[in-house]
Structure formats: structure tokens, C-alpha cells
Symmetry: none
Subunit: 211 residues, 4 copies
């Protein structure tokens, strides 16, 4: 797909920016955001300390940029995949799959996104109002669409359902990150979706189990 946005050649500036972002991911994942030193990021990116500040406003901005950059690309990819699909059920499946695949493929990145970017309420708000909000909004749209079509139960608030779904996926990734023998993250996709779709109680008992 020559000429496509994601394939076009990077300018030297963009290239160096990417190098720094990648270095930040590695160093932040290895040492933790707070313990990580800017000078180590610079070393990992093979640039001088001062160069970091030609591309980013500071340490915090660097962390935020890791998050936003990655999520931006992820959301783009998601949007493209969504276009091909009609069934909200399928959309949800794809979304969960991509989520697990993306993070499962890059443990350092997952670490930064799941843990280091959540070190403070202030930072979490920043994320929620940025790309993360966009992502949740995408998920929310799918839920609502499913409810409109009758594929998803309509007696649960869509926003809450969105949170529950995200929370389930998110926690799974967290456990995978904390595990000593992680294995393949995507292996959980099937059971996870089953839980999300069908819950934990078999249909025949639904009456009695209703909250």
C-alpha cells in the first residue's frame, strides 16, 4: 500500500522523534517513570540530553506523548477495521482482539500504558480527556449501536457497560503484566468475550441472579 499515511517515509525529525519515544518506552518500562532519568532516555535514544527538550516539553510531556502517539495509531487502525463490519458483536470482538494483540505484542509498551501513565489522578484525568476518552467513546458507540439493534441488552446503561467491558479487558492485561510467566495475551480473548457477552450465570438462572 505505497503512499499510505502509515507507510510514507518519515522525515529525519519524525524519525528521531520516534527513536526518542521508543527509548522512553524502554526506559520507563525498565525503571519506572519516576525512577527513570531523562539522561538514560537520551542515552537509549542515542541523543544528547538537551535534544530531548527539542522534541518534548519535559519528562511528563514525554510520557504523555508515548501514550497519545500509541493510542492515536491504535484508534486509527480500529476505525479502519470497524468500517468493514456491521454487526456490533463482531465489532466488539475485533476491538478486544486488537486491544489484546497490540499490548500482547509489546510488553514494555503495555507496561507503560497500563501502569506508568496512571501514577496520579492528575495524569489519569489528562489521559481520560485525551486519546483514552476517544477510545472509550468508540467502545461506547459500539455498545449503543448494539443496544439499538437489539444485539445487546438494552436494560443496562451504555456508559456503565462500556466501563465494565473496558475494566474487564484492562484488568486482564494488568494480570498478564504482573505475571511471572506471562504467556500469550491473546489466548484469553475467547473466554474474555464469553464473559463479556454472556456473563457468569447460565441463562436458566438469570431470573434469580438479577442484581
Amino acid at each position: 500500500m505505497p503512499g499510505s499515511d502509515s507507510a510514507r517515509k518519515l522525515t529525519p525529525r519524525e524519525f528521531k522523534r520516534m527513536r526518542i519515544l521508543r527509548a522512553a518506552i524502554e526506559v520507563f518500562a525498565r525503571d519506572g517513570y519516576f525512577s527513570a532519568r531523562m539522561t538514560d532516555v537520551a542515552k537509549a535514544a542515542d541523543v544528547a540530553d538537551g535534544t530531548l527538550y527539542l522534541y518534548f516539553d519535559g519528562k511528563e510531556h514525554l510520557l504523555l506523548s508515548v501514550f497519545d502517539d500509541v493510542l492515536e495509531r491504535f484508534i486509527d487502525q480500529l476505525r479502519q477495521e470497524m468500517r468493514r463490519l456491521d454487526d456490533p458483536v463482531d465489532k466488539l470482538k475485533v476491538m478486544v482482539r486488537l486491544h489484546l494483540e497490540s499490548l500482547g505484542r509489546d510488553r514494555a509498551l503495555a507496561h507503560v500504558l497500563q501502569i506508568e501513565t496512571r501514577h496520579s489522578r492528575k495524569f489519569m484525568r489528562l489521559l481520560s480527556r485525551g486519546k483514552l476518552g476517544e477510545y472509550l467513546s468508540l467502545l461506547n458507540d459500539i455498545v449503543k449501536e448494539g443496544q439499538d439493534l437489539g444485539s445487546f441488552r438494552g436494560d443496562v446503561n451504555a456508559g456503565l457497560a462500556t466501563n465494565v467491558i473496558f475494566g474487564a479487558v484492562d484488568e486482564l492485561v494488568n494480570r498478564w503484566l504482573l505475571s511471572d510467566e506471562p504467556g500469550d495475551l491473546t489466548q484469553y480473548q475467547g473466554p474474555l468475550l464469553k464473559m463479556i457477552f454472556q456473563g457468569i450465570v447460565p441463562c436458566e438462572f438469570h431470573e434469580g441472579a438479577a442484581g
Copy 2:
């Protein structure tokens, strides 16, 4: 029930320990763990800086103690409530209710437990191996019990189901924490349980939706 753990009078030492823990919760919630200064915790607890170190090993241990102390009491309470119940469905309901009630009652505490204690992988591991693990284990027991009795579907790995349930509740608390107009956290109990029990897809479509 004289002499019971929770009702007996606190020794002066225990009392001061509690004062420091409470001060830590307030200060960590207000300023964030990393920005918070030990001297401010001391001030809030109305003790000298050095006194903190007579009760805790350091800043990190103080944070850990907040977590463990609170969870210990929560788990005790949970165990007592569980004893009265037989039905795993009821147990799960109670567990979720207590979870939401406990955190909904004390926003500063919720903030510290949900956000500040998760600032690094190292710390999260510490939690997982401590009281948090115990809590998850309790939840896991309920799930397995439900599966054994047939109340919960047996075709999903219990550990994964546990994670999904915990993740759903946890994320809900997070959203509540980040919200500007929080409202009452317990209001979500019903819908949340519905999601956990029945999933998002109505029974009649379960075949097609299976992951």
C-alpha cells in the same frame, strides 16, 4: 462481644498509628503519593517527622500499610458476612456491595487504594502478593464454588472470571474517582451485577456471540 478485635480499646500506640495512617490517606489523596512530603503527613498527624519512622519503615511502607490495613479489615468483614450465606450468587452480591460501599464512603481512601498504590509495577506486585491477593483469592473461591454448584457457568476458567469481575468493579470505582460530579457509588451496584451475571448479550443470541 468484649475483647473482640474490632471493638477493644486501642492502646496509645495503636491509636497514634491509626492517626498517622489516616493522615497519610488524606495527604496522599490530596497531593499524590510522589508529591506528598513526609513532613506534611507528620503535620497532619500532629506528630514530629521522626515519629513517623517509629511506626513505619519509610514512605513506601507507609503507603503499603495504608493498603494492607484497610484491606485486612475489609477482608475480615467480608469473611464474617460470607459465613451467613450459602448461595455463591448472594456471596458475590454482598462482596460487590461491600466493595462499593467501603470505597464510596471514603473518597480519599478510594483515591489512595485505586491510584496511588499502583504507581509502579514493583508496588503492584507487592500488593498482589499481599492482601490484594487474599481478596482476589476470596473472590476466586466464590467463583469456583458457584461453578461447582452449577450456579456459575463452568466453561470459563475461574481465575479469568475472577479477573474480569474484579476489573469491572475496579474500573467502575476508577471512573467514579475521576468524575467531577461523583454521586453515590453504590447506585451502580445493580447494573454492575447484571453485567457480571448476565453479560451484555441477551440469552437468545448467545450461540452466535460466543467468542
Copy 3:
């Protein structure tokens, strides 16, 4: 004179404060304010780096404190000497003498007061509005008193005369500071006063020389 303010024993805190101020004078004079490093001041005062900040708000405040502390004592001394005198001419003589003596006695201090504290307009304003203003005001009072009594010519604005006198003394100190073989600063007292009192033009030519 036991019990007098200046002779009373210093508290340990005051003593350490003085030690730091003295160290600052030496280091600022030796390296210049901007090149001087706080860690060197600390070393010279034989305290830890952080201790400086228990006594002063920062580097700039330290410099300001050197100035204000010294001038405060100088002004006190001046006020006491003034009390014994009636003749403004005598007062001016004493003032100039004390000025030259105080600085001539301590070259490092003179260096800091004359040069390092004047590194920026902002800082000079700070000084002018502080103790330096008080000092100039004292000088101004003497000039006005002399004019009222007829000892000083009344056809020159007192403020301007004050500036001229101060400028003359100040510049003399500056030249002494920049000189490689300084000699005794007080040796200039007589000629300086002659210039201030009588100007450069002999009386018989005053008509023609008037500006």
C-alpha cells in the same frame, strides 16, 4: 557593656546563620555571585547543602541577607554616633569615616556590597527600597539639617546633593576595590571630604564657574 544588643551571646541558630553569611561573603567575593555555587558556600560554612535552605530561601535571598544584615548593623552604629553630634558638618565627617572604615576593614565584604549586589536592575531596586534606602535617607537628613542651619548651601536640591555625596564615596570605594595595590581606604577621607565640602573650584572663581 554587658547585656547590650550587639554583645549578647548568640543563640546556636544565630551563630550558624552568621557562619553561613560569612561563608557567603567569602565565596561570593572569591568567585562572583553567579559563578559561586551553593555547595561551595555550604562547604565554607561547614554545613550540608540543605542546611543553607533552613536559614535562607535560596541563593538570591542569601545575597540579599548579606547586604541587609551588614547595612542594618552599620546603620545602627551610625545612628548611635549621630546622637552625640550636633553639627551636620561633623555628622557628615563621621558618616564618611565610618563608611570608609567599615568597608576598608573587610575587602571581601566590600566586594560583595559594591559589585555582586548590583548585578541587575531588579536587585538594585530591591536594595534601594531596603536598607540602602534607609542609609541614603539618613544622609539626606544630614544634608537637609545642614541646609536649614546654613552650614550647607541651600541652593542645591538636597536629594541631588545626597546622591552626589554618596556617588563620590561609592566610586572611591570602587576604585579601591579594583586597584591591584589597594592601600588603606581611610587615607582618602580627608581629600574626599574637602571635595564634598568645597568642590573643585576655589572660592574666588565661584561666580564664573557656576553651572
Copy 4:
């Protein structure tokens, strides 16, 4: 007088040099020498950062060049004016007038010459040994000439008298610089000269006042 130094057309290089010097004056006056950044000087001069170093050896040399350039022209002008005059009294009058006029006309320049160039002993020595020394030497010559002719009192060391005169003028300029409502600097010329010529004590009291 075509071809004269001050009137001939500037080469492009000289022109750019002047632009940089002017930019330096503005930026140094606005931000202070130490806070000022070379990149801001470059911006103000509308050249690239690196270009500054094609015309000056560095930041310090730039400041020194501002001083020397301005003083060189000032001294040239002074020498020309002196040529027309015989009376040392007149020469002194003209010198003071030109001094006040030159600085009164350009407050940014005055700021740099009076304050920013005096930030350290090392720099002040540099000035004293350069153009400033030349200027003081010029003043000294006038004083000595006046003493030889009997117009100025001979019982005061010429060097000291020079310092006193310079100090008086210099301090006046300083006060004007620090004032919030400066007004016209040249208004002080008359009274200032009166002080310099006649001192502060009326002739009839000279005996008693002699230092």
C-alpha cells in the same frame, strides 16, 4: 567632510555588526545580561544564532563590545568638542553635559552601561583597562589642566578628584535609571556642576569644614 569616519557608508558586515550590537543592548536591558539568552539577541537582530559568533567571540565579548563601541564613539565626540575649548571649567561642563545627554537619550543603553557591565569584578577591571580607563584619563587631564592653570584647587590629588567627579555623575545616572518616573536626565546638569565646582559648604565656612 566626506569620507570621515562617522559619516562614511557602512559595509554590509559593519551594518550587521551594528544591528547585533543594538539588539544586544535592547535584550540585555530588557532581561538583564545573565537572564538574556543569545538566541533572543539573535532573534532581535534577525540573524541565526550561529551568526552571532561570526561577529563576536561569545556572550561576554558581545557585552564588552557594546561598551567599548559606545564609549569609543563617545570619546571621539568628546575629543572633538574639547578641541574648541580652552578653559578647563568649560571642558568639564561640556563633558558632564555630553555624559548626561548621551545616556539620557537612550535608556536601554544607559541601563547596560551602568548596570549590566558591572556584574563582576573581573568585568569591571576589563572595562577600567579599556575604554572606560581612557574616558577617566580624559577627565583626569582636564582636572590636572585646571589645577595647573589655577582654575581648580591644587590641594587635592587629581586622581581622587577625577573619581569623585565621575562618581557623582555616575550615581546620578544610576538614580535616574532606578527611578520609576525618570524625567529628563539633563535637568540635573546645573546643580550637579554646582556641587562639583563649589561643594556643599558655602565659602565663608570653608575653614571649619576642611576635612
